[in-house]
């Protein structure tokens, strides 16, 4: 099997106000290295929950999560955190950069708490690659939205992940900037053989993706 991550019969139930909400219903999903998959669906359809389960931020109520062919469903918080660091890069709609740190330091953040002397060099190379070689020491508030998202992408790549998970990566960007970010995604998955899963409303993503998964009411259509 070559799936880098796989969800098998995944259910996710929440209890809110005495009512049980089923966010994911019997979801089967997998993705392979180098594949770009978009997950689309109306809001409240369970897209974000699915992304959280894929990103080991949330555990399913039922079902199994396989990461690199290993069952990671019931790992401890500590092990999950270690797997996230090793395998997964996150990109958020609102970038979530740390305002007190420079672009370069923001990219280094995932490597900070650990012995990684080569991190600074990798971070510099990554920022040069995303076209921000001249913005290394800028603070997030000195960068445009597109530049921030590029810093966030560089941060997601710093630990050489096998999967990139993106939550509305173009949601806060204008169409042109969004397109340049998607070009970057395309380059990354081709050159680095990274699987990309993006949750989105943006129809222009389908120009770049290998396939689109439609999620309605917690079920894959």
């Amino acid at each position: 099997m070559s799936h880098i991550i796989e969800l098998q019969n995944v259910w996710k139930r929440y209890e809110t106000g005495g009512e049980v909400v089923e966010a994911l219903k019997d979801v089967d999903f997998h993705t392979d290295p180098g594949e770009f998959v978009s997950v689309m669906g109306p809001s409240g359809s369970g897209k974000s929950t699915m992304l959280n389960v894929l990103g080991l931020l949330d555990t399913p109520t039922e079902g199994t999560v396989l990461l690199d062919d290993r069952d990671v469903t019931d790992l401890s918080d500590r092990e999950m955190t270690a797997r996230r660091k090793e395998f997964i890069g996150f990109i958020f709609q609102s970038f979530h950069l740390i305002p007190t740190l420079s672009a370069l330091e923001n990219v280094e953040v995932p490597t900070l708490f650990g012995d990684d002397p080569a991190a600074r060099e990798r971070a510099t190379t990554l920022l040069e690659r995303v076209g921000l070689g001249d913005r290394l020491d800028h603070r997030p508030d000195q960068l445009s939205g597109g530049q921030k998202q590029r810093v966030a992408i560089a941060r997601a790549l710093i630990n050489e992940p096998r999967i990139l998970l993106a939550d509305e990566p173009t949601g806060n960007l204008d169409q042109e900037t969004g397109r340049s970010v998607l070009d970057l995604f395309d380059e990354i998955r081709r050159e680095d053989d990274v699987a990309i899963v993006a949750v989105t409303h943006d129809p222009q993503l389908s120009d770049y993706t290998d396939r689109t998964v439609e999620l309605v009411d917690g079920r894959i259509q």
Partner: protein
């Protein structure tokens, strides 16, 4: 890269902590101010106690080093004899023995006169100092005049006075004795022993090198002289001085206790600041957790922030407290250097330690809360 940057890179928790604190300088500054006040309160109240004790010790002088032996009138002993004095000399291993014969007579200079106590002493130099003139080791002739009498009769060294009809040349005016004294010379005149009527002695003062030596002498004098009958009463001031010392110890603890309350208040303010700043940074901490930062590292980062606040407040507070100590001591004791004694450094170190400890303790709950938030919840917009 300068050494500080180097250190911060090695300890990422510190790097993040420092950046986070610089984010809201006013808030961090106020939290530090709280710690400064707390540390200042503990350290300066501690030093204030030391100053009080030093001042009291100065007032008491060497009184704790002296003991007084007098005849036990209740047993019918009217005065101490030469034999008693010899026995006292044998019992005292370390210190000088000053037998005293006293009387009350008329003293006059010119047409001014007054009735005063006169003391007959062979070696007044062992217990008195002159403010003007010189106190001889052995008093064979001449008179020493207490400061009060000197002022009353307008006497200076070199003057001639009449004591009980005989004339004396004044060799010295004695320094005014402040505080408690076993044989107070202020309103007396000291004469050579044989010039005072009588054969025995009314009192013997023993001046030892230390309070402990005085105490040992008192014990052996009691053993020697009171073996068969209670011939003498031995009066020690040491028990009083040690009682006073003990009192100041209690007072100091009490003062430091009051100071600690302000540090507790400072701790609550740090708790508040840290809690607010972790709540504000909820999403950021969620991102850190998402990108693979462990719970322990989050806890370390937030504790480092609290620790930095405490250290900054502690250091500044210690410096201000030392400054306050110098001001207090130069004002009260006329000796600013009295601030720099080991016990005061102990108070400063104690206060700084308490300050840093309180800060870190106050950081524990916010740190624990931030580290245990689920990243999914934190990242939800």
């Amino acid at each position: 890269m300068n050494p500080l940057e180097e250190l911060l890179r090695r300890v990422p928790a510190l790097l993040m902590a420092r950046r986070n604190l610089s984010r809201n300088r006013i808030r961090s500054g106020l939290a530090i101010l709280g710690i400064i006040i707390g540390v200042l309160a503990i350290a300066s109240l501690g030093m204030f106690g030391t100053t009080l004790r030093t001042g009291a010790d100065q007032q008491l002088g060497d009184i704790g080093n002296e003991i007084s032996i007098s005849p036990n009138l209740q047993e019918g002993v009217e005065e101490l004899t030469d034999r008693d004095v010899d026995e006292i000399r044998r019992a005292v291993s370390d210190g000088s023995v000053v037998p005293i014969r006293s009387d009350s007579v008329l003293v006059s200079r010119g047409d001014q006169q007054t009735v005063t106590t006169i003391y007959g002493m062979e070696n007044p130099g062992a217990i008195y100092e002159a403010s003007d003139g010189r106190v001889p080791d052995r008093l064979r002739q001449g008179a020493l005049v207490g400061s009060g009498t000197a002022e009353l009769l307008d006497i200076e060294p070199g003057n001639t006075i009449a004591v009980d009809g005989r004339t004396y040349r004044v060799s010295a005016v004695l320094a005014e004795q402040q505080g408690i004294s076993l044989v107070n010379p202020n309103s007396a005149v000291v004469l050579p022993m044989e010039d005072v009527n009588g054969t025995g002695y009314s009192q013997v003062v023993v001046s030892a090198e230390s309070g402990q030596a005085a105490n040992e002498s008192a014990v052996s004098i009691r053993e020697e002289l009171n073996e068969r009958e209670e011939r003498v009463t031995v009066f020690e001031l040491q028990s009083i001085t040690s009682g006073i010392d003990q009192f100041f110890g209690i007072l100091n603890t009490f003062l430091i206790g009051i100071g600690s309350i302000s540090l507790v208040v400072a701790g609550v303010s740090i708790l508040n600041v840290m809690l607010m700043s972790t709540i504000e940074r909820r999403q950021e901490i969620g991102v850190l957790r998402a990108v693979g930062v462990q719970r322990g590292d989050i806890i370390r980062m937030i504790l480092a922030e609290a620790g930095l606040l405490g250290t900054a407040g502690g250091v500044v507070g210690a410096l201000v407290a030392l400054g306050a100590g110098v001001a207090l001591n130069s004002f009260v004791l006329n000796d600013p250097m009295a601030t720099f004694q080991p016990i005061n450094f102990f108070y400063v170190v104690l206060a700084v330690g308490f300050g840093i400890g309180t800060s870190i303790l106050s950081g524990l709950y916010p740190a624990w809360k931030a580290a245990n938030e689920r990243p999914v919840e934190a990242l939800r917009n």
